[in-house]
């Protein structure tokens, strides 16, 4: 039976609405292309002759480093907490997600404070060995490429952890048992069975990490690392050439497309589905003595370095500023953060379901599949550039509508969407759709098409099949998507700053006012609040993801 049989008359609506959604979300990306094609003054030659090679090399190194570290940390810890039992496993299950709630720029500030010359670490060393100045001894420079790789990996590995954990949870025990009966050691079974099956999900996690890395600006700027993202801002702001910046951004997006295409090509021939929904509960490997110790260490280090230390430092700072709680509009900022992030997360997941399901119904329409891929490109754009890409179509729409209504009805609508919270939420959706699509898509792909066929041959519409058959099966993926997008939006800064309405602050923008001036102490309390607010959904949803495995 071919997948064609899934297409009937009533999939048209799906096709139409998914196309419109994909196009809408692609508008800002197209605006950036437009800027790149028609710059006011073309400085591409100058860039290529001078700084571009440095930008490209630095970015490649940064991505390779962060990717490798994230996979190493994320996959190993996910496998440990899913497939093994050792003391503290339940705790680590959700604790490993915690660094995800810490914004990268905050972690960079904290570690710089700790590790630089005037910080406590080097100070103690100087006291200990009687060194006098910086010239007397060698200490690794935190503000460097390796430093940036470390900082970004600490806050980005949870993507890989989340995705690979969801994949390990969904894996069938019978496969593992079969491999063990056929003589595989636990390690061989992991490498030959579990890892290849989880590979699509790990790849999704890795591509998210790569895109986050490629567009990070806060950390690379603070560490004086000349990545492409730093180059974009430099060209735009210091050379007053937005066109040149858009050209680098376009190159970056092409870069990302190549990356994803390569990855997909590598696993084009792989498809596995669950052959049954009869799950056995996971029967974990029990770890004892030194093995348990190693597992605790492996899971403990990322949590300690990525969460406990930075939050501890913030906490110490914050105790000097507790008075802020009573005299600033904390609740307002927090509620703004919550409403914006919550709406964007819901919208992102709805859009992701619409797009991925339409793709499933029409797998042979290359145009639709490409449109869905294209709509994820917003994630590869640095936030501030994306914000400009959002302003252009929204303002154009507002001004056209205003002109039209004035002409025909004598009404002025002014700027209907630009400069409202709608613009901010729209930007979040464009930016983080890739995240939700990735998570939903990898869940949906694991549901075998025979399910659809059965349901549809029993007379269900595509819509009711989605609700009654797929939805219960992909709940875990949906929750993962919701959680990741929510926390991402809470932390989002550059686009929020540029697009927000008058007199409007979120927790992130409030932190930024001070952090941008390297006054971390001043805003430690708000930074702590972002982290804490981010933690609550992390914990809640982490628990329900665990619960999605039937038989547990």
């Amino acid at each position: 039976m071919s997948s064609h049989s899934l297409q009937t008359g009533n999939t048209r609506g799906w096709l139409f609405s998914s196309w419109s959604a994909a196009l809408l979300v692609a508008l800002p990306v197209c605006s950036v292309f437009y800027l790149a094609l028609f710059p006011e003054e073309n400085i591409w030659q100058h860039l290529a002759d001078t700084v571009l090679p440095v930008y490209i090399k630095t970015t490649l190194l940064l991505m390779a480093g962060v990717g490798a570290l994230s996979i190493l940390t994320g996959v190993s810890t996910a496998w440990l907490v899913t497939m093994c039992s050792f003391p503290g496993k339940r705790l680590f299950e959700w604790a490993l997600l915690l660094p995800f709630a810490v914004p990268a720029y905050v972690i960079a500030y904290v570690y710089t404070d700790l590790l630089e010359y005037a910080g406590p670490v080097q100070g103690a060393l100087r006291d200990l060995f009687g060194w006098q100045t910086a010239k007397d001894y060698w200490f690794p420079e935190i503000r460097s490429l390796p430093g940036a790789i470390l900082m970004l990996s600490l806050v980005l590995y949870p993507y890989v952890y989340l995705m690979s954990r969801a994949a390990f949870l969904e894996q069938s025990m019978s496969l593992r048992d079969a491999s063990r009966i056929l003589g595989c050691s636990p390690w061989q079974s992991f490498v030959r069975i579990s890892l290849p099956i989880a590979r699509p999900s790990i790849a999704v996690g890795l591509s998210l990490v790569s895109m986050e890395t490629i567009n990070d600006f806060g950390t690379v700027d603070y560490f004086a690392v000349k990545s492409m993202s730093a180059g974009i801002y430099d060209t735009w702001l210091n050379m007053s050439n937005l066109g040149g910046a858009a050209q680098i951004a376009t190159m970056m997006m092409i870069f990302v497309v190549i990356l994803i295409t390569l990855e997909r090509a590598a696993r084009a021939r792989q498809k596995q589905f669950h052959t049954s929904d009869r799950y056995k509960a996971i029967d974990p490997y029990a770890l004892h003595s030194w093995r348990a110790g190693l597992a605790i260490l492996a899971c403990g280090v990322p949590v300690l370095a990525g969460f406990i230390i930075p939050v501890g430092v913030l906490g110490v700072y914050a105790t000097n500023h507790l008075d802020q709680l009573f005299n600033s509009d904390f609740l307002t900022h927090a509620s703004h953060s919550f409403i914006l992030s919550g709406s964007a997360a819901l919208l992102c997941v709805l859009l992701a379901v619409l797009l991925t399901y339409a793709k499933r119904l029409n797998p042979n329409r290359i145009s639709l599949v490409s449109a869905v891929r294209f709509s994820s490109l917003g994630y590869a754009l640095p936030g501030a550039v994306l914000a400009i890409g959002v302003i252009i179509p929204l303002a154009a729409f507002d001004n056209r509508l205003d002109a039209f209504l004035r002409e025909h009805w004598g009404i002025s609508t002014g700027l209907l969407l630009s400069g409202t919270t709608f613009a901010v939420i729209f930007a979040y959706c464009v930016r983080f759709l890739a995240v939700s699509t990735g998570a939903v898509d990898s869940s949906l792909n694991k549901v075998t098409p025979t399910m659809d066929m059965a349901s549809r041959s029993l007379g269900m519409t595509p819509g009711s099949t989605l609700l009654k058959v797929h939805f219960p099966l992909i709940k875990g993926g949906l929750l993962t998507a919701l959680l990741v997008v929510f926390v991402d939006c809470m932390k989002e800064l550059p686009a929020t700053l540029i697009l927000r309405p008058f007199n409007y602050d979120t927790l992130a923008t409030y932190v930024y006012q001070f952090a941008s001036d390297e006054q971390l102490e001043e805003c430690s309390l708000a930074a702590l609040l972002i982290v804490l607010v981010g933690i609550i959904p992390v914990i809640l949803l982490s628990r329900s993801i665990t619960g999605t495995r039937k038989g547990n």
Binding site: R143, N238, S412, I498, F502, E518
Partner: protein
């Protein structure tokens, strides 16, 4: 979904009601200046005039927002912390020229656009910070001295692409021509102790730590460090350096401004002009400058004790800033060309 659509309807209706009443009872500001510097002034302005102020603060992108919002943009004023964005806005034709007797009386010509499209509100000098211990009095007295090979491995600065350095390099180009500026910049690069990084304060800290002996920095950072109760170690950084005002025998120290312009499509142009006039008057000038240890642009405005003590009478460059701004793009290319930041 229902809640979403209700929200949209609510937003639409509020948008309608907002645009329906364009009165002069408020003024909308896009600000590149940090909120804590301007909020008290805006409050005083509202108390005096009854005009409400609305602010969006960001470090970048507001210019583009203003540009694309076009005819219906709600913004009246763009406040900046540097000449750069002001000259960019002029180049894009986003400012409406205004001619106010009060402003012309209060602000010297070098700090105003000859065509009245922008005006400076505070000024600052870009200085050489020199180690008290390792640099003798009189050993360095001009920007040109920074290129002397005797300072090999002794100079720290933030990125050459930072807007403050671009204006400085732009002023060197404006005075000496591009060729001379290039050889000067190359020689300064050869003298760097480390790759350009961190902000202006971080350079002074590096002097304290013995990483380098000389650094470039804006004048007001000295005051900010000296009075920093939140991070007392910054007082030690400041205590370890002397302030050198360069070129006192020549053209004077390079000056820059924070400033403002009125948007071409401002819905409240009168209120906007009122606010700018207010900011050039003595009281606001004194507060605005003191808040950040900058210099008032209005002659005869009393300076704070700290500024008087450390940055008393000095000779500032009197070249019109519009001429400096015109060279910023060339300065940025020069920085790339000599690989200053690499």
């Amino acid at each position: 979904m229902l809640r979403k659509s209700l929200l949209t309807i609510a937003m639409l209706s509020s948008a309608f009601s907002m645009t329906a009443q364009a009165e002069t009872t408020e003024v909308n500001i896009y600000s590149y200046r940090q909120p804590f510097l301007i909020e008290p002034l805006l409050k005083a302005f509202s108390e005096e005039t009854g005009i409400k102020t609305n602010v969006v603060f960001a470090k970048k992108g507001l210019l583009e927002r203003l540009e694309h919002e076009g005819a219906n943009s709600p913004a009246d004023i763009l406040l900046t912390s540097d000449i750069g964005p002001l000259s960019d806005a002029v180049a894009k034709g986003l400012f409406a020229p205004f001619n106010s007797e009060i402003v012309n009386k209060n602000v010297p010509e070098q700090f105003r656009d000859p065509e009245g499209r922008w005006v400076g509100l505070t000024s600052r000098a870009r200085l050489v910070y020199a180690s008290k211990e390792r640099v003798k009095e009189g050993e360095i007295s001009s920007y040109a001295d920074l290129a002397d090979p005797k300072w090999r491995g002794k100079i720290c600065t933030r990125s050459g692409k930072h807007t403050y350095n671009l204006s400085l390099i732009g002023s060197v180009i404006a005075h000496d021509g591009e060729e001379k500026a290039e050889s000067w910049l190359r020689a300064v690069k050869d003298n760097l102790a480390r790759k350009p990084q961190g902000n202006d304060r971080a350079q002074v800290k590096a002097i304290k730590e013995g990483v380098c002996d000389l650094a470039l920095g804006n004048s007001y950072y000295f005051g900010k460090m000296l009075t920093n109760e939140k991070e007392p170690e910054q007082k030690e950084w400041a205590a370890s350096v002397n302030l050198i005002f360069p070129d006192q025998e020549g053209r004077g120290a390079h000056m820059n401004i924070s400033g403002a312009g009125i948007a071409k499509n401002a819905p409240h142009p009168e209120a906007a002009q009122k606010l700018i006039e207010f900011l050039t008057e003595q009281q606001a000038q004194q507060y605005y400058a003191d808040a950040n240890f900058e210099f008032p642009v209005r002659p005869g405005t009393p300076k704070s004790d700290l500024v008087k003590q450390y940055m008393g009478d000095f000779k500032g460059d009197t070249i019109n800033l519009q001429r400096v701004a015109e060279q910023r793009a060339a300065a940025a290319k020069l920085v790339d060309k000599v690989g200053f930041d690499n």
